[in-house]
Structure formats: C-alpha cells, structure tokens
C-alpha cells in the first residue's frame, strides 16, 4: 500500500478531516498530542477515583469500607497511574509533543511515525497495567514495588506480572518518545534558534528528555530481573542465594528520583512561559534559568539513595547523598527567585493560568522545603514511609507539577482548540482546587509527624489522627468537585467558547504567531529567529525586521510542504509488542504471533514509502545541517549505555558472592572468547567499510562488506551459543548461582543486541539488492545501523574485560 503524501495547499485546522481512521493512523504531532491528552484525562479520572476510595476508607479509624487487599491495590494503582499514566505522559506526550515543534519553529517532530508508535505503545502498556482490575488481581505492592515482596513466593498472583509488564511496555514508549523529541529539539530548530534563544519550556523538556533516556534503562533492567525471578526462578533479589533485595531499590531509585524531575521539569517550563507572559516581561535571568534547569537534571541523577537512608547504607553513604540532595535546592531556589523577579515590576494580569502559577510558587516551595527536611538523614529517619512523605510529594507533584500543568492547560488550550476556556469557571476551578488541595495534604504533614505510617489500610482510633484524616477526606472531595468544574468548563467551551485568535495572551514565543488551532503544517514559512522571545520582540519593535528579507526562507513556497503521511503500522507494532508481552505472561501460544506481527510491521514501516521525498525523517536539520536519523540513533545509543551500565554494575556487585556451583574463575573459556571477540572487532571494520562504500554510492562493494559483517556477526553468535551450551553441560544454568544468572543475563542481552543487529543488516542487504539505495541520501540508514553495530561492539569490549579477563580478580 503506497500512500503518497498529501500536498497541502489550503489552510485548514489540524483537527479537521480524516475521520476515525485518520486519528488511528495519524502522524501529526498535534493530533498525537491530543490523543495523549485525552488518554491521560481518562486515567486522571481513574486515578482520582482510586484516591477518593482510599480517602473514604481512611476517613474513620478501623474503617471497613475497603478490604486490606483492595486498599493495597488502590494505593498501588493510584500511585502508578498518576505517575506513569498521568503526570509524565501529560508532560511528555501532550505538552512537549504539542508545543515543542511549535516553539522551535518546526513542522513536525523528527520522526512522526515513531511518535505515533510511542503513543500506541504507551496506551497498550497503560491498558496492561490496568488489566488486573478485570479479575481483581491489580498490582498491589506499592508504586515502587520493593523486592522481595514482589517475588513470586510473597506475591504469587498475577498482580505483579501486570505491573511489571505494563511498566516495561509503557517504558519502551516513553524512551521512544524521548529519543524522538530530543532529536527534534537538537536538529529541527528553525534557523537562528540557538540554544540560548530557545524558549525556556523547550529547555526544560529537553532536560526531561535526557533524563528519560538515562533514567528508564535502570528501571527496565530492574524489571527484567524481577520478571526473571518470577518466571525463571533466578535470585536477583533473594537473600538466600547471596543476593540482596536492596539491588532493586538502587535500580528503582536510579530511575525513581530522576522520574520526579521528569514530572516536574515540564511544570518548570510551563511556569517559565506563564509567568513572563502574564507579567508582560521577559523571563528574568534567562541564562541562569536555563543552566539551573540543566543542573537540576544532572544533579537529580546523583541523589537516588536519599530514598534509602533508613536501609542502613552506613554513615558515609548517607552523608554523601545528603550533601548532593541538598545541592539540588540551590538551582531550584534560583528558579523560584527568578520567577518572582520576573513578576517584580511587571504588569500582572490575573488570568486563570497565572493564578495556577502563583499557587505553584507557594505550594512547590513548601514541597521543596519539606524536601530539604528529609534530605537530612536524621530527620528522614522520622519522616520516611510516614504520611509526612505523602504530604511532601503531593506538594511537589500535585501542588507543584499538576498545578503548573493545569495552568499550562488553560494557557495553551486556545492554541489546541481555537477557543478559550471560560474565565469564571476557571476561577472556580482554581479556588476549589487550591483549598481542596491544602485541606487534603497539609494535615498529612501532621499525621506523619504524629506517627501514621503510609500505606496502612486502617489506623487505630487512639492515636489522635481521626479528625486530621476526616479533614483530609473532605479536602479530597472538594478537589474531585473542582475536577468536575474543569470537565464542565471543557464541555461548555468546546463548541461555544470565545474564539481565541492566534495570540490571546500577548504571547512571546513562536506558537502564538500562527493561527489557533494551527494548520497541519504549523508554519507556512519556517521562521527565521533573530532573538530570544522572537515573536514578542518583533511585536513590540525591539527587533527591526531585516531590510533584506531572508530570501531563501520566502522561496520555500507553500506547495512544497511535505507532511508526514499517515501510517497504520505504529498501531500494529504496538499491538504486536503487547501481544508478545501478554503471551509471555499468560498464553505462550500468542508470543510467536506477536513477534511476527512486530517484526513484519516494523520492516514494512521502514519501507512504507519508496519516494525519498515522502520521508520527512530523511531531513537535514535547518539550523545544524546534521542528519536527523543520526541524531536519533546517537540519542538511543546514549540510552542504551545506561542499560548496559546497569547490567554490568549488577554483575560486578554480585561477583564472588556465589554460594554454590561453577563461577567465573572455574568455567570461563578465554581462548574461545578471545577468538569471538576478535571476530566481532573485525566485523566493525567490515561494517565501517560497507558504510564507506555506500557513502561513495559503491553499492556493489557495500553489499559485499555488508554480507561479510553479517557472517562475522553470525560466527560471534555461534560462538556464544556454543559457550552457553557447554556451560550448561558443566552444570551452570540460569538458576545455579548468582554468577550464572548475571552472566547469562548480561551476555545474553548483548547477544540479543547482536542478533537484532544481524537482522537489521540483513534487511538492509535485502533492500540494497532491491535497489532501495539508488535514491540519494539513503546511505544514512546504513550509517545509523553501523553506529548501532559499533556500539554493540564497544559494549562487548567492556564485557570482555570485566567478565573474562578479570575473572580471577578478588573483590577488594
């Protein structure tokens, strides 16, 4: 099926046309953003209902409204839903996806079909997470699912399987979206849009994308270990085998703490848009703000163990992590003061978005300050796992992130739909939710300080907690009422609201220079950016338009706009991945079907459009001159580095702790592996030669070297299969000991990467035979594959040293 791109000549809103089929196969970042928005709204309601049920249960001491079992499912799913299915995707999928291309002056994201794929994978992952409700086996071990409670011995049901699988699948979607959007920010910026001129929202979400790329791999590795423990009887988190459940905590919080910033950074970005706009001043201290954003991202990666002060890591580790955690307060403080300085001396316009921003300032500060409290290990020992922490992170994530996101919703709603939300209902919405929020969560500080642990389905009546809990429940219902007002506002204004026009708020950034809702192609002419706040400066005459108009930009006339064509394959791939996962868990029979569907659709999507012009992916960045595909693959490689780092760290941690069976010293066959290592290194040489040949358009030699590379890859894999088989015969299985499980997992995952590389190369070879490379500029596909291949090679360089050559080195 060959669908040529639609040549767009009329200026019609992106919302019009296409019907249901159009929405299912859409690759327009704005439509995908809207899909994300609707999905997260549904999950917001689900998560909110879960919260209400919990608050009803806790309204009175020793209540019996919910059983212990149901309550545990509620708080687990409330946390998981709000974090993974609401706050993060609304920032990543809705705001970033919709706004980033508009703010950087791009027509779409870097990889539009990958964008659709991310959404569908996220949606299916979310459905898997919630599928447990159907049989009352919803996940029930808390949103951070501490091992070893999640091991099959202590959680025998399907509950944890749904959780693991749902998170793995939706995590894949998040990483894809982050790769895509990071490549967009790096490479799709309009000419003149330097990093120091990007709107701060783009800066914030850019840091967020980086954090997603480096934070999700440890979670993925942790979940894979958990799955292997549950399905294959390994002992990654089991003390009886010499391992420790704390490994899970480290891997999880390596993800979990950056995740907090993944949720909060879009809120920072939104604040940095709303505050200047409604103060009618440029953002105070722009470079400082940009840098503090980046610094927060960087530091957030070095503080994970402050979630573990109570586990007994020792005073040195406690102090180190206390210090790094406190450091984060400095850039965060800078941001808060800069927002206030932006307001100072401005013309403050008290519209709903700004009200939310003001509430954010106070409430987020409170959340941050209570965070400084439990950055102190002694205080943390009193507060952790109590309701004080519940209060703290709700002040950060609800009073902070969610308030800013709501402000952002009011702010960009006219751009998304073309109509303003009602201001009066907006104020009602604001005041009810502010009061409800503080009524719900402020008492929780006190509850925690008075000794109420979190995650208890009941509490005794004699601890002085009764009235506080009742207050909290009342607040929760007030918030629910407020959400109802929001829904009414959306419903009322969708058809009858005031028409917004392109620039309802006196905006500063490029998205306000185009119609609301924007046409499918966003910008008729790609803008030329001459300063920060480009649109605002030109509006107020700070920048004189250049006398000689940028001729090349104007020359790119409307009829040359190529929009990404719709594609059915994203949804098919997502379905295939989900089928594989579900099959793995419940019905092994459908695993093969799922895999076939995934691989087939992926290959079909790669070659969907024979015309080079149809691939907007093939574009060269207008400001950088780099090929977007290469930018994308490098971002992905960055993410993969963390994946293998987690595996290698686990191997090194567990090295020498085996209680039984063969170990590295006794079993490894170095001569054989030296040979296969050499083979793999030489395959990198042939790969680079193949790529070089394709670049010279010498397809004959390219194909030859490609074949040699494939053969060398297969030899390496053969060596690995032989090695595994011989170890198996010598009595080393996956379950034998810690060496067995870490070795097979790490080396096996590396082997799987080689195997995928071989498949990719084989597909490219096939395409080459079919003449696909005759079209200009397609050799970058080989280069992208080559980068991946070399990366797998350097991972092996490390594994070879760590596993094989350091086999006999004792632990310090």
């Amino acid at each position: 099926m060959v669908a040529l791109p639609k040549e767009i000549t009329v200026e019609e809103s992106y919302l019009e046309g296409g019907g249901l089929w159009g929405w299912l196969t859409t690759t327009d970042h704005k439509r995908i953003g809207v899909l994300y928005g609707l999905t997260t709204l549904v999950f917001l309601l689900i998560g909110g209902i879960e919260a209400l049920l919990m608050r009803i249960q806790l309204a009175r001491p020793d209540n019996t409204f919910l059983s212990a079992h149901l309550y545990n499912e509620m708080f687990t799913m409330h946390g998981t839903t709000m974090i993974f299915l609401v706050v993060m995707p609304v920032g990543l999928g809705f705001f970033a996806n919709f706004i980033v291309p508009l703010q950087i002056g791009a027509r779409d994201v870097a990889f539009p079909r990958l964008n659709a794929l991310s959404y569908w994978i996220f949606l299916f992952g979310a459905l898997v997470l919630n599928a447990g409700w159907l049989a009352n086996v919803a996940p029930n071990a808390g949103w951070f699912g501490y091992a070893n409670l999640t091991e099959s011995y202590y959680s025998p049901g399907l509950n944890i399987d749904f959780w693991t699988l749902g998170l793995l699948i939706s995590g894949v979607g998040s990483v894809m979206a982050a790769v895509n959007l990071l490549a967009t920010v790096i490479n799709m910026r309009a000419p003149g849009m330097t990093f120091m001129r990007m709107p701060l929202f783009v800066w914030s979400v850019m840091v967020m994308f980086v954090l997603i790329l480096v934070a999700f791999p440890p979670l993925t590795v942790g979940l894979i270990f958990l799955m292997m423990d549950r399905f294959f009887g390994t002992h990654f988190y089991r003390a009886v085998a010499g391992a420790t459940p704390l490994l899970w905590q480290h891997l999880f919080w390596l993800f979990g703490h950056p995740e907090v910033y993944i949720m909060v950074l879009p809120a920072f970005g939104i604040m940095s848009e709303i505050v200047p706009t409604f103060s009618r001043k440029p953002l105070y201290g722009y470079p400082v703000m940009a840098y503090s954003t980046a610094l927060i991202g960087f530091l957030s990666y070095g503080v994970w163990a402050h979630h573990m002060f109570a586990v007994g890591m020792g005073p040195v580790a406690d102090s180190a992590f206390a210090l790094t955690s406190m450091l984060i307060a400095i850039p965060t403080g800078i941001k808060i003061f800069s927002w206030i300085a932006t307001m100072w001396g401005g013309d403050l316009k008290m519209k709903t978005p700004f009200l939310f921003a003001l509430a954010f300032l106070i409430q987020f500060t409170m959340g941050g300050l209570s965070g400084v409290m439990h950055a102190q290990p002694p205080i943390d020992l009193q507060q952790t796992d109590s309701y004080f922490v519940v209060a703290h992170f709700h002040y950060v994530l609800f009073g902070g992130a969610a308030f800013a996101l709501l402000g952002g919703l009011y702010y960009w709603w006219p751009k998304v739909t073309g109509r303003l939300l009602d201001e009066r209902l907006g104020r009602w919405n604001f005041w009810t939710i502010v009061i409800g929020f503080n009524l719900t969560f402020f008492p929780m500080h006190i509850m925690g300080a008075e000794g109420m642990p979190r995650r208890v389905y009941r509490y005794p009546g004699d601890m002085g907690l009764n009235s506080l809990n009742m207050l909290s429940t009342i607040g929760a219902f007030l918030m629910a009422f407020s959400v109802l007002i929001l829904l009414i506002n959306i419903y009322k204004t969708r058809r009858r609201g005031a028409v917004a026009g392109p620039d309802p708020w006196d905006g500063r950034t490029l998205e306000w220079s185009i119609p609301s809702p924007p046409p499918a192609y966003n910008f008729k002419n790609i803008p030329l950016v001459r300063a920060r706040d480009a649109f605002w400066r030109e509006k107020y005459g700070y920048e004189q338009p250049p006398t000689a108009a940028p001729a090349p930009a104007a020359a790119q006339a409307v009829e040359h706009i190529h929009m990404p064509p719709p594609s059915l394959y994203p949804i098919l791939i997502a379905a295939g991945i989900t089928m594989t996962g579900i099959g793995f868990m419940l019905w092994p029979r459908i695993v093969v079907t799922g895999l076939v569907l995934t691989v087939f659709s992926a290959i079909a999507m790669a070659f969907e459009y024979p015309e080079a012009g149809a691939e907007s992916e093939a574009s060269i960045g207008p400001a950088t001159g780099l090929d977007t595909r290469k930018v994308g693959i490098w971002c992905f490689i960055g993410s993969e580095s963390l994946f293998f780092a987690s595996l290698i760290a686990t191997y090194m941690i567990y090295k020498g702790r085996d209680l039984v069976g063969p170990t590295a010293e006794t079993i490894l066959n170095v001569p054989l592996t030296t040979t296969t290592t050499f083979v793999l290194l030489m395959s990198s040489l042939t790969m680079v030669l193949a790529q070089d040949a394709y670049r010279r358009t010498d397809r004959t030699w390219g194909l030859r070297w490609l074949f040699v590379t494939i053969v060398l890859g297969l030899i390496f894999l053969g060596g690995q299969v032989y090695e595994f088989a011989s170890f198996y015969h010598e009595g080393l299985t996956l379950q034998t000991n810690l060496f067995g499980e870490t070795f097979y997992t790490m080396v096996g995952f590396h082997g799987a990467h080689v195997a995928i590389g071989v498949i990719v190369l084989a597909v490219l070879a096939g395409a080459s035979l079919a003449g696909w490379f005759k079209v200009r500029n397609r050799d970058v596909a080989v280069e992208a594959a080559a980068l991946y291949w070399h990366f797998v090679d350097i991972v092996w360089v490390v594994i070879f040293s760590v596993v094989y050559l350091m086999r006999a080195i004792a632990k310090a």
Binding site: A239, G314, P377, W431, R454, V456, D506
Partner: protein, 341 residues
C-alpha cells in the same frame, strides 16, 4: 479578592504549623508523635528537625511576602484591553549571586549539625554496657530475643531506662521497617542483612512502635509496643520471663493445656517445655503481654477467643489458620493461654 484570600491562606497555614508543633508535643493526645523525644537519639534528631524547620519557615515567609508584594504592587486589571509598551526589565547580577550564595550558606548551616548526628547515631561499635536485643521481623509480627538473658517474646519489648539498647534487626521474609517514633527514627529490616539501631531511652513509659515499610497484606496490622521501665521493674519482668511457663491451676486452664498439646498450635508456637515451634510467636509468657496479634488487639479472653476462631478476619492474610475449635475446647484453650503470666 485574590490577594486577600492568599493572605488569609498564608495566615491559616502558619497558624496550622504553629498549632501542630505545639499540640504535637503532647504524647497523651498523640502517642505516636515524633515531637515528643524520649531518648538521646530522639533529642538529637529533634534538634536538627527544629533547626531545619526554622530555616524553612523563614524562607517560606520570605517567598510568601515577595509574592504578596508583587501582587499588591504590580497587578493591573483595568488596563487589559489597552495595549501599552511592556514594562522595563533590568537584571542585576548581585541579586542573582545573592540568591545563589544565600541558600548555599543556609544549607551549609543545616548540613554540619545534621551530618554530625548521622555519624553519632550510626557507630559501628556499640556502647559497652548496651543491652543487645535481636529483633526478627515476620509477616506480620515482631519477634524479640534477648540473647544475654534467654528471653523470647513477641510484639512487646521491655527495656530498662537510661541504659543504651542496641536492636539487631533481621527479617525472615520481606523488608520491614522498625519504627518507634518517640525514640527517634526508624531503621529498615532487610532480609539477609543485620541492621542496627542504638539509643538510650530516658523516660519510662509505654510507647508505640510500628512497621513503616509496606510488607504485604497486613502491613497495617504489624505494630508493637515498647515498655521503658525503671531498673527495678525491668529486673522483675526479666526474672519472670526467664523462667518456664506457669503451670495451669484452674480446671479450664488445665483442660486447655491438653487442648494445646494435642492441637496443631504446637507446630508453630513454642511454650517452654511443651512445644518448640518457631513459625509463630513464643507463647511461654503470653498472658504477661498487654496486646497480641501484631499488637493490634488488647489481650482479653474475648479478643483471644475471637482471634482463635478466625484469625484472618482480624488480621487479613495472617499465617495462623483457623483451627476449628469450638465451645468448651476454645474456652479452655483461652483460659490456659491467659494463665501464662
């Protein structure tokens, strides 16, 4: 409207904090309070706590005042429709330096005492006269063993006042967390790793302890009690606990003894001289405890009978099965257990 409301909200919040801090120190109203320190460790923690609260309060007030001033001085409402040039926007480097260095200094002030306490509360060698108590966490109850005294008990721990006590924490199943709010801070109980918690209780009394780490279905029902006793009272208790079980005197108790010996209870529970199960709590001096079942039930005959009839109804997921005892058998067993002072 907005500025007045915000001011009111701020007042309410501050008043709330203040009231909470004051009333929170009353352990009669709040037996689980973290603001009623009763040990050396709890005092150290509280000192850091108050220092941070003080700084936090100052910063919060500063920010609220700044936001409030912005609102009162710079709000414009009437001029919405008349476009006018944007206000000037100067930037001052000194200001930026100030709000970078200021918080950094405050953090330094906080960090120094805080880290001193970190090292003071986690010393690798215990004080020489420390009473060592082994704590074993189970789903969902606490086992306490005094290795130097040969005492085994559950869910209620007795310690002498003014003598350092060192809890060695171990778990047989999942991760739990050992928390006595009045004694200053919790410590996780991690399977495969012995954690330590050392402090010197300073005031006699009965204190609440809880499991703070989610540990499965009945996490909420995993509480315990700490009795800090004078030296004399502790010695009395110790003398009683170290001895064997009381022999049943009355008729029902004697009959209950037979019920116990012939029942499935013996596979899981220990009564010195009768059975040596170790899955469930040691019952040798069961009646000397004020509570049972993860310290969630008062130790009365009625409660005990209800518990024996259907443990899962009172503590979901409890490992103890319903033994199907009815009528006299049940009453006899209750009488026997309640005789084990």
């Amino acid at each position: 409207m907005s500025s007045a409301s915000i001011r009111a909200a701020i007042h309410t919040l501050l008043a709330g904090v203040f009231a909470a801090l004051l009333s929170g120190c009353d352990p009669r109203r709040f037996p689980g309070s973290t603001f009623a320190p009763r040990s050396d460790m709890a005092h150290w923690v509280e000192a850091v706590y108050f220092e941070v609260i003080g700084w936090d309060g100052l910063i919060l007030i500063l920010i609220c005042v700044l936001v409030f001033l912005c609102l009162t001085r710079f709000s414009t409402r009437a001029s919405e429709d008349q476009p006018k040039p944007p206000p000037p926007h100067p930037e001052y480097l000194g200001l930026e330096v100030a709000w970078t260095v200021g918080p950094a200094l405050i953090l330094l002030f906080i960090a120094v005492p805080s880290l001193r306490i970190v090292f003071r509360t986690q010393q690798s060698a215990p004080p020489t006269n420390a009473l060592i108590i082994n704590v074993t966490a189970h789903q969902w109850w606490w086992q306490f063993d005094y290795p130097s005294m040969g005492i085994h008990t559950a869910n209620e721990v007795h310690i002498p006042v003014d003598r350092p006590v060192r809890f060695l924490l171990n778990s047989t199943d999942v991760i739990h967390s050992f928390w006595i709010p009045a004694m200053g801070g919790k410590r996780d109980v991690v399977p495969g790793h012995v954690n330590e918690l050392t402090f010197t209780p300073q005031v006699t009394g009965e204190y609440i302890g809880e499991c703070a780490e989610f540990c499965g279905l009945s996490h909420a029902n995993m509480r315990f009690r700490v009795f800090v006793q004078s030296r004399v009272a502790f010695d009395d208790w110790r003398a009683n606990q170290a001895g064997g079980p009381r022999l049943p005197t009355g008729g029902p108790a004697r009959a209950g003894e037979q019920v116990y010996v012939t029942s499935a209870c013996t596979t899981c529970h220990a009564i010195a001289g009768y059975s040596s199960g170790y899955i469930g709590p040691n019952l040798t001096h069961f009646a000397s405890r004020t509570t049972f079942a993860g310290s969630t039930l008062r130790n009365t005959p009625q409660n005990l009978a209800a518990w024996l009839e259907n443990p899962q109804a009172l503590k979901p997921g409890a490992q103890m099965p319903a033994l199907g005892l009815r009528g006299t058998e049940l009453n006899d067993l209750v009488a026997y257990l309640e005789s084990l002072k």
